[in-house]
């Protein structure tokens, strides 16, 4: 097992402008097999210039790894301007100690990311596999798609300890999302596969869904007017109304299921 510690230097975020650092080059896959000196020389984008990791982060390496699976990256410092953490990773583990910036876990294929704080927009964007655990809140477009795409998350599991903002799982095609708190407007928008469980409240869930399943354990505000009540069902001992939809997509396409208390 190898642990790579990367601590963002405070001067990176102490200027008048808080320019983000994009760290898609710092995944277990890409750092596996590198020495401390080699890791320091890996470049990351800071605004329109490429910088050496060692110039922006304090770097330390402990232990050895036989594969990327055995690499754990621990990120410390003010991570609120660190974008694309774990972008495209397939193996290993990343632990981010604090709030993280946008696109954390985007295009992820495997491995695990734990965010010990909040995650900004597009966490888990177009994720295909692996585990993403966000202890705090998730901002808008969690597990959604890149602009213009018609498929968002297709696999893996995402757990949010707090609340989630708008459009959770937009265009989701597979995988599972669990929100322990509330979800704002349009969770599961355009969903065509996979499963979303919202333990708290939701607003307009399931709009334009054509397949997949959404369960809202709290209260639904602004229920979509284009869903058909199919009856009731018991889930984990609680009674839920079962709806099919969205009929605004035509009856032929309305194969989504929405469970509401």
């Amino acid at each position: 097992m190898q642990t790579i510690k990367l601590k963002l230097k405070s001067e990176v975020t102490s200027g008048v402008a808080k320019i983000p650092v994009e760290v898609d080059s710092l995944t277990p896959d890409k750092l596996f097999g590198k020495t401390e000196a080699e890791i320091k020389a890996v470049t990351v984008w800071w605004g329109n210039k490429e910088e050496n990791t060692g110039d922006l982060f304090d770097v330390s390496v402990d232990g050895t790894a036989g594969s990327a699976d055995e690499v754990k990256i621990v990120l410390d410092g003010d991570l609120s301007r660190v974008k694309r953490i774990g972008d495209g990773m397939t193996a290993g583990e990343i632990e981010a100690n604090g709030d993280v910036d946008m696109h954390c876990g985007a295009m992820m294929n495997g491995g695990k990311i734990t965010v010990k704080g909040n995650a900004d927009c597009w966490a888990g964007r177009e994720m295909h596999g692996g585990d993403l655990v966000i202890d705090g809140d998730a901002a808008a477009n969690l597990c959604a798609m890149y602009r213009g795409e018609t498929t968002g998350m297709t696999g893996g599991k995402v757990t949010v300890g707090g609340n989630a903002d708008e459009c959770v799982g937009q265009y989701m095609g597979g995988g599972e999302i669990v929100i322990k708190g509330n979800a704002r407007m349009l969770a599961g928008l355009n969903m065509h596969g996979g499963k979303i469980v919202i333990e708290g409240d939701a607003v307009m869930p399931g709009a334009d869904m054509t397949s997949g399943e959404i369960t809202v354990k709290g209260t639904v505000r602004d229920m979509m007017p284009s869903f058909k009540l199919e009856g009731t069902e018991s889930i984990d001992g609680a009674e839920y109304k079962k709806y099919s939809g969205d009929l605004a997509m035509t009856a032929k396409k309305a194969k989504g299921t929405l469970y509401v208390k």
Binding site: V16, I19, G47, N48, R147, P225, S226, A248
Partner: protein
């Protein structure tokens, strides 16, 4: 005195092109026909920025164009995350140089669509846009819907030239043979003219679109008795009116792009148009604001593949409104320099964005002083496009129209100023070996 006909108005997205003005001693002395009151005011001219200037110790000091070009290029070349914003109230030729400058700098380029019809542009990418020209609306449409738009006050010539009030080839009886539906959260000058006015609850547009779609697809049975403050009876009546149209045209404005579900409202509005297609011909068009906001979207798309909010920092175009749109970047305090052209974020952006703009070096190019001038560090006066300079613009229905030059100007055109800044930036970079 010379009378000039077929003058094109460079104010709003209607781009009226049948205006008649009088010119005497290199001045527009009278607008005789065709323009609305705001268009008239733009053509007649008003207060101008007099000279290029650089801010020294908090005060703008007049300087030469050469000095201002040098200063602007130094600021931009040294920037790690520059923002180039505006572009909607100038011509496509200037916009093209803007994209080139953004590429050279590794900048984010964004335009006023991001605080205007950006949500519409996003929605169009998702589901397309069954649209038509304003000429088709004039000659064919017999059912007109204005949703979240108040053209009687915001696009004063729109109904008269193109829609409800106009008379065309197959609409020779004018409004007598047309139906007008207005959807808004409050009564307006436009809603007072409507056959049907649906007054919806703030932020509930999305639900109302979905209900109309379900009805148009034959599922009125699942729709509840009231949706978003509108009775089912009124929804059924509106759906019947849509179905009965020979040619329906929906126009939508800021009232629906900037409420509740934003871009998803527009996806839903377009999907409602698609649902209407199972019964009759229907079209949908955004009520674009600035006269060439559609044009910068066109230019930016030709050049980068994307219409607004494009980040060129990593040498390729990365597009993401919400992340790279000007207000979001500024609220997040990401930029360390900005060039603002042909727009006024000082008056239109949220307070937090303006606070950050006030902290970083700002370069302004504009014919007119505005609140942005109050914190700009380098200011360039420019010729007024459509009065003192010609060039191509795109009307709200994406029809290209060439602005005419009416009088000579002592000020350079936007395109010329931008080219000089670009040349100077390239000279600095060459010197530094980049």
């Amino acid at each position: 005195m010379v009378e000039v006909t077929d003058v094109v108005c460079s104010l709003c997205g209607c781009v009226c092109d049948d205006i008649v003005v009088e010119v005497e001693d290199n001045k527009v002395t009278k607008v005789k026909r065709g323009a609305c009151s705001v268009g008239k005011s733009k053509l007649m001219g008003h207060n101008r920025i007099k000279s290029p200037a650089i801010r020294v110790n908090g005060e703008l000091k007049d300087c030469s164009y050469d000095e201002a070009i040098k200063k602007a290029a130094e600021i931009l070349a040294a920037s790690r995350r520059p923002l180039l914003y505006g572009w909607s109230s100038t011509v496509c030729e200037a916009d093209k140089v803007g994209v080139e400058l953004a590429e050279e700098l590794g900048a984010v380029i964004d335009n006023t669509a991001s605080v205007c019809h950006g949500p519409s542009v996003l929605a169009i990418q998702d589901v397309g846009l069954p649209s038509c020209t304003l000429g088709e609306v004039k000659n064919r449409a017999d059912v007109i819907i204005y949703w979240g738009a108040n053209p009687a006050e915001a696009h004063a010539n729109h109904m008269k030239r193109y829609s409800y009030v106009s008379k065309g080839f197959w609409t020779e009886e004018g409004k007598k043979a047309k139906k007008l539906v207005v959807v808004d959260v409050r009564a307006t000058k436009t809603s007072k003219m409507a056959d049907v006015f649906l007054q919806i609850e703030q932020g509930k547009d999305y639900l109302v679109f979905s209900a109309l779609r379900a009805i148009l697809y034959g599922h009125a049975d699942v729709v509840p008795d009231e949706v978003g403050g509108v009775s089912k009876k009124d929804l059924l009546e509106t759906a019947e009116m849509m179905k009965g149209a020979k040619f329906g045209a929906t126009f939508f404005g800021m009232g629906v792009t900037h409420t509740g579900a934003r871009q998803n409202n527009i996806v839903n509005a377009i999907q409602m148009t698609r649902a209407a297609h199972t019964h009759t011909k229907f079209t949908i068009t955004p009520m674009r604001g600035h006269y060439n906001v559609a044009g910068i979207n066109q230019v930016c798309t030709w050049e980068t593949g994307f219409p607004f909010a494009v980040d060129l920092t990593r040498g390729y175009a990365w597009y993401n409104p919400g992340e790279l749109s000007a207000t979001d970047l500024l609220i997040r305090q990401e930029c360390d320099a900005a060039l603002i052209i042909a727009s006024d974020p000082g008056a239109h952006f949220p307070g937090e964005s303006i606070k950050h703009l006030a902290k970083i070096p700002v370069i302004q190019i504009d014919p007119f002083p505005n609140p942005t001038t109050e914190f700009a560090d380098v200011v360039f006066p420019a010729a007024v496009s459509g009065v003192e300079a010609e060039g191509n613009v795109y009307r709200m229905d994406n029809i290209p129209i060439r602005l005419r030059k009416l009088i000579d100007s002592e000020y350079p055109e936007d395109e010329a100023i931008l080219k000089r800044i670009l040349d100077e930036v390239r000279a600095i970079k060459e010197k530094e070996g980049n």
